[in-house]
């Protein structure tokens, strides 16, 4: 299995690693501030250890050929479905009345996070193995559709609407990369809209419907959902051009910001570092993503291209959704900012994604020579 080429070392993706360190460094500094309580909080150290573990994980993940994932992905898919089933039906809900975590003692695993990554791998694998021909039709989309819908349903009943919808978004985005018949696309969009409206009416839980309603009419509910968005906008806006300074943000430190070290972590950053700091951060972040696109463009096989772009899509959509929420474009959805929000499952999933991108990069370069 291991056919390690010495030349690979020469083609190690230092750029991606540098960007990862840069973004993670900013994330850790921000976490230090957002959880600061007269001293560094244990949460900060926990995330620091996860980050170090993630870096070690990169070494392991670049040592094998990513093409192994084409078959290995299905095994992982089977594994994650079992974990999701276990989470849904055998874990008693503890946090906020939801069953999202499996307690491993040292670590609370949130299976829906790796599920997103595994779905990308499996979809890339499936599309790579099946020729598009004159374009995928309904019948050919049935299998990837089912592959998506199974974890979607399992995550939806946790309930975690945000992550579940993320799977649908990933399926749609990746499917748009491959050739799908236009007629099929149009029909699928119509079906999707119909499904969404029916789902909104009959399947959404009250709190989920309320979130959407609050987003549409923020003044109707000033203290809960709308309050969170409002406080986030105040935090971001009050940072002004140069920010209030490290550890000086009032919105975060006086607890006006909800979830300030998880979903709303970027609000703290924007408040303390201002427009200048935010632009710097986003530039690094998007450079990292564009570098991922570059990796996809450089890949020599269909699986490599689909997998690399799928991973970029995975990180990209979470980023956009999270930042749109923070800046008041979207209702409160529980999507973290990859690498930036506190949470071991999300952090490790993202680091693994980036390690796979580095893996693809190394092997495309080697083959090109």
């Amino acid at each position: 299995m291991l056919r390690f080429d010495r030349r690979l070392i020469h083609h190690f993706d230092w750029v991606m690693l540098l960007m990862l360190f840069l973004v993670s460094g900013m994330a850790l500094a921000n976490l230090y501030s957002s959880t600061w309580n007269g001293g560094a909080s244990p949460i900060f150290f926990k995330q620091l250890y996860f980050s170090l573990f993630g870096v070690a994980l990169i070494l392991a993940l670049i040592s094998f050929d990513y093409k192994e994932l084409q078959t290995f992905g299905y095994i992982m898919y089977g594994g994650i479905i079992i974990l999701l089933l276990y989470t849904d039906f055998f874990v008693q809900g503890t946090i906020a009345g939801t069953n999202r975590w499996i307690n491993l003692g040292f670590f609370r695993l949130q299976p829906s996070e790796p599920a997103k990554l595994i779905l990308v791998i499996v979809l890339a694998s499936w599309y790579a193995r099946h020729e598009a021909g004159s374009g995928y039709g309904f019948r050919k989309l049935l299998i990837p559709g089912l592959i998506t819908v199974l974890p979607f349903c399992l995550i939806l009943i946790q309930p975690d609407l945000g992550t579940a919808l993320m799977l649908i978004i990933l399926f749609c985005s990746i499917s748009l990369l491959v050739r799908v018949r236009w007629s099929t696309v149009v029909i699928l969009i119509c079906l999707g809209l119909a499904g969404a409206s029916i789902g909104y009416k009959f399947f959404l839980k009250d709190y989920q419907r309320k979130r959407i309603e609050t987003f549409l009419h923020p003044e109707s509910d000033p203290t809960n959902q709308g309050y969170q968005i409002m406080q986030s906008k105040i935090a971001v806006g009050s940072g002004q051009t140069l920010g209030k300074g490290f550890l000086e943000g009032t919105q975060g430190h006086l607890h006006f910001l909800p979830e300030r070290h998880t979903d709303f972590a970027f609000s703290v950053w924007a408040e303390e570092w201002g427009f200048a700091g935010s632009v710097f951060f986003l530039s690094c972040y998007f450079f990292m993503l564009l570098w991922g696109i570059n990796i996809a463009m450089g890949a020599r096989d269909k699986f490599g291209v689909l997998l690399a772009s799928g991973l970029v899509i995975l990180i990209f959509w979470q980023t956009v959704i999270n930042l749109f929420m923070i800046m008041g474009f979207l209702p409160v959805v529980g999507i973290p900012l990859p690498l930036f929000s506190y949470g071991g499952s999300s952090l490790l999933t993202t680091i693994v994604s980036i390690a796979i991108l580095m893996n693809i990069r190394m092997r495309s370069s080697v083959i090109q020579k």
Partner: protein, 661 residues
Amino acid sequence: MKNIRKRNKWRSKAPAKTSQQSDGRQGAKMTKITQRDDGELDIIKKRVLVLSFVLVFFFGVLISRLWYLQVQKGEQFALLAENNRVRYVEVAAPRGNIFDRKGREIVTNRPSFNVVWSREDNRLDDQLLKKMARILDVDISVLLARIRKMENTPGHIPIRLADDIDWEKVAYIENNRLDLPGVKIEVVPLRVYHYDNLASHLIGYLGEINKKELKASKEGVYRGGDLVGKMGLEKIREFDLRGEKGRSYMEVNALGFEQKNLKGEEPLPGSDLQLTIDIDMQKIAEDIMTENDFAGAVVAVEVNSGRQLVLASAPTLQINEFVGGISHKAWNGMLENPHHPLLNKVVQGQYPPASTYKLVTAAAGLAEGVINSETVMYCPGHYRFGNRIYRCWKRAGHGAVNLEKAVAESCDVFFYQVGLRLGVDRLAEYAKKLGIGKKTGVEMEHEKGGLAPTSAWKKRRYNEVWQEGETLSVAIGQGFDLATPIQICMMTAAVANGGTLYKPMVIEKIFDSDGNLVSHKQPQVAQQFTGQGRNLRLIREGMKEAVNGRHGTGRAARLEGITVAGKTGTAQVVRLKQYKHLKEEDIPYKYRDHAWFTCFAPAENPKIAVTVLVEHGLHGGSAAAPVAKAVLEKYFEGSVKKMPEVSVVRLSRQEKELAAN
């Protein structure tokens, strides 16, 4: 790259079969990058390139949004963030204290603990409301009513859920503050009345500021819910007493807990008032009036300065009824009370001055020379004027009467004739000189001026010509004559001090909150009744006889060791035939005569003047004089031995009759 793409393009045109064939010829390394993929790979890569544009587009959107929020609207959001974290808190200033002339506390403050809920910090949900109702031990509807009352006020003003809660509740709320977000304890100074209702008409009470008062006040001085003086000195001296509110800017966190004080000003307590009142004397006066169930007024003044020692109106106000707003029922009860507790009888009660007015008539007659010390008139018990008979109160008559005897025994016939000789207008002129018919200017609200009638006044008021017969009534203080107790007291003081009419003084000194003297009031002369030293001495002799003489009318005011000089008065309320033959006790309360007694002491060197009015008290000598005596006794306490109680048995029949007038 370019090269590869060109080749791919060409290959995609080739039939699939050919590419499959060529596939087989490829080396082992190339098996996985199948050439049949090339056409499809090209399309996918094109789309990935599009994806990079999508990325750049969203990056642009995010940066624009950040620009809008942070740079364009940054200042507004910075302001919102400041509002979020900074709470403006007003701290009530302790009101000034009120002391008596000897520096004894009458009204001070103590801290009271109120429960307030800050709407900005937390929404009051049902659960919290239920918790608060349980802690405060009130019905939930009480809390809801208070919240509803404040619904239309700006959100930064906290709502008061409970006032003046006890220590146990304060401790409980403080210990559980983490479970009660937005709920706070507010410390507010509360008035303490050390002598309950003592001098309540003078001091007044506090009440919540109303909309009219709020509108009339300067911006920023008051806000809704503040307590302001509603009556008495509390109202008149509001400016001195209120002090200045403290203001502080507190940093709070999202739960409303205060983190640190950013900046602020301590409240400036109000100024203290030292009154001229003597609480011992005031208390004696009020107690006697209450014990006897008297309605009326007691006024005592230093004759040489106008410093008021007693300003009592009976019955006193029940101050407790007014704290926190008086109930409709209590208010109506006061309105319907025949003793009219709401009326400050010292300045608002106007009564016929009756025989006390004879001092004015005597002074006028002497000054105008229509009588002198040698003038003697004969009193047969009545005086015929025109076709009417005017009676003296003593049916048998006083016989030959000079001025001294006329004052001492209150002979009506003597004064009828003095009045006639003077005429009503000259009489009124002297009444005014002695302060009757004119407001004294004492610091009490809604003072009435009384009335010293003139012919011009009658013409103006009733458009009628003055009848000479009416002058007879006016000369003995009946008819149109009206005076307030404080006017009679100031007049008596003027007679006692040789003709100086002082302006009544209530406040001696004002101290600021640090105890520095801000203002020390000096006696003010209202007017001078000059060149009457000899004449007034004659009147004083008569007054001395009235108390000390064998036939004096005011013998009930005699003091051992101190010579008291005084004048009684019995003011007719109505003259109704149907009551004429009834015994006094059978006349309905509201038709009984008012009793006056006014006096000064010591007669040789006057220091204090005391006036007592008992509404419907029947006889000045019996009802009013003992009250004056008690006040005098208190004043001279220590300087003289207390006089043994006069037993009723020792009074002769004649004395009783005398005491009746």
